[in-house]
């Protein structure tokens, strides 16, 4: 009995290997370079040979793509100085040696607190480098299905990407539920109510809102197929001009105007006639969502 390996359970390296055509991956500043974090070491925390992120390039369905994959299990995929610099460098490389696309496997809670200032600046630099790659005509596609999801600054970065492929198990947001619960109380957000956490930040609600552009099953094959489809569609970066941003502005203003009682994805699904969305299989959900929208 063999099953497609879970994307969520795979390590960053396994994700890269599972997404790309076999044997095509070339890593830059790989673990042998020992570019570890001096800041973690100074605080007596364990370091990793790749500082929790894999960057390199390979072929996907024959096309050359640049791949960035964060390791969610190492310090929550959080961005420190080296980790952030590797990602930034990868986007800069996308401008100088353009790949067909950048595939960005985000799995991160945001800034690494042990080197918080460096992490915050790194994320800002990543944002600017990402814009530059898009301006150079390279589409950037985020894959969000790891155990840390995409939160904090990396939640913002994910939404700068031209496509966001999520699994139902993936999560996308800004502040983690634990932070909100700690500061605002359990009535505001019960972080232990996992079903609620996913109804607010999980893949299905993000897809419902259009924030995720694709919802796939939690396995490497499904994620790979989604990227292959994006390649096949010849999709480039989503252009942004005054007009497109004004349109986004109008869309978001309409969403903010939703009544204040709307605090749970379930009420949104109820309104859309997708009351049992949480229980649907991915394929059925995608079909039903298309029918109602």
């Amino acid at each position: 009995m063999t099953r497609a390996p879970s994307y969520r359970e795979a390590t960053a390296r396994h994700r890269v290997a599972g997404l790309l055509d076999a044997g095509t991956f070339v890593e830059w500043v790989g673990p042998g370079a020992r570019a570890t974090s001096p800041h973690l070491a100074a605080l007596g925390s364990p370091v990793s040979f790749d500082d929790g992120v894999v960057v390199g390039e390979g072929r996907l369905a024959g096309e050359r793509v640049l791949v960035i994959a964060q390791e969610g299990l190492f310090n929550g995929g959080a961005v420190g100085e080296v980790h952030g610099a590797k990602i930034r460098g990868a986007f800069e490389r996308a401008c100088t040696q353009p790949p067909r696309a950048v595939v960005f496997c985000i799995d991160s809670g945001g800034v690494r607190l042990h080197e918080a200032n460096a992490g915050l600046l790194a994320i800002s630099e990543i944002m600017r480098a990402l814009f530059a790659a898009q301006s150079a005509g390279i589409p950037v596609w985020a894959l969000v299905g790891g155990s840390c999801g995409a939160f904090g600054g990396m939640g913002i970065v994910a939404r700068l990407c031209d496509a966001v492929v999520m699994s139902e198990e993936g999560r996308l947001g800004l502040s983690g539920p634990e932070v909100i619960e700690t500061v605002k109380g359990v009535e505001e957000f019960d972080a232990r109510d996992r079903a609620l956490v996913w109804r607010v930040t999980g893949g299905k609600i993000r897809r419902t809102l259009g924030e995720a552009t694709h919802l796939v099953e939690d396995n490497l094959v499904a994620f790979r197929e989604a990227v292959v489809a994006l390649l096949a569609a010849g999709q480039g970066p989503v252009p942004f001009t005054l007009e497109t941003l004004q349109a986004s502005q109008a869309r978001l203003e309409a969403r903010t105007a939703w009544d204040a009682a709307l605090r749970d994805g379930q009420s949104l699904w109820d309104r859309l006639g997708l009351a049992d969305a949480a229980l649907m299989e991915t394929e059925q959900f995608n079909r039903r969502l298309q029918e109602v929208s």
């Binding site: 042998g32 370091v47 040979f49 390791e71």
Partner: protein
């Protein structure tokens, strides 16, 4: 963090890695091991950095058993450990060697 080095006799030839290969992840109860070519074909080297203090003798016993039961001559293993049990250490090392043999 605590660190130490260890060099042990080992059966040659081990599969020589083309490039450095990393196996495992540094997370609670887990470790990563970087396998590279070492200097001598009949010895293997270990460098261990671990967050669990006071276990050097246990590590040495685990690594000695590993070196005795696998063909790892000519290899160098660098380990970042975040409190893995000996069982996990042995398993990761075995997996790392396997991934070298069958890339």
């Amino acid at each position: 963090m605590e660190s130490f080095d260890l060099e042990l006799p080992a059966r040659a030839p081990g599969a020589a890695p083309g490039t450095a290969a990393l196996y495992g992840v540094v997370s609670s109860g887990n470790l990563e091991v970087l396998v590279e070519a070492g200097p001598s074909p009949d010895r293997c080297r270990f460098h261990v950095e671990t967050s669990a203090h006071g276990f050097t003798d246990v590590w040495q016993a685990v690594l000695a058993d590993f070196a005795a039961s696998h063909r790892v001559g000519g290899l160098s293993f660098s380990i970042h450990d975040a409190g893995a049990t000996p069982a996990v250490v042995s398993l990761r090392l075995a997996q790392a060697v396997q991934s070298l043999e069958a890339p």
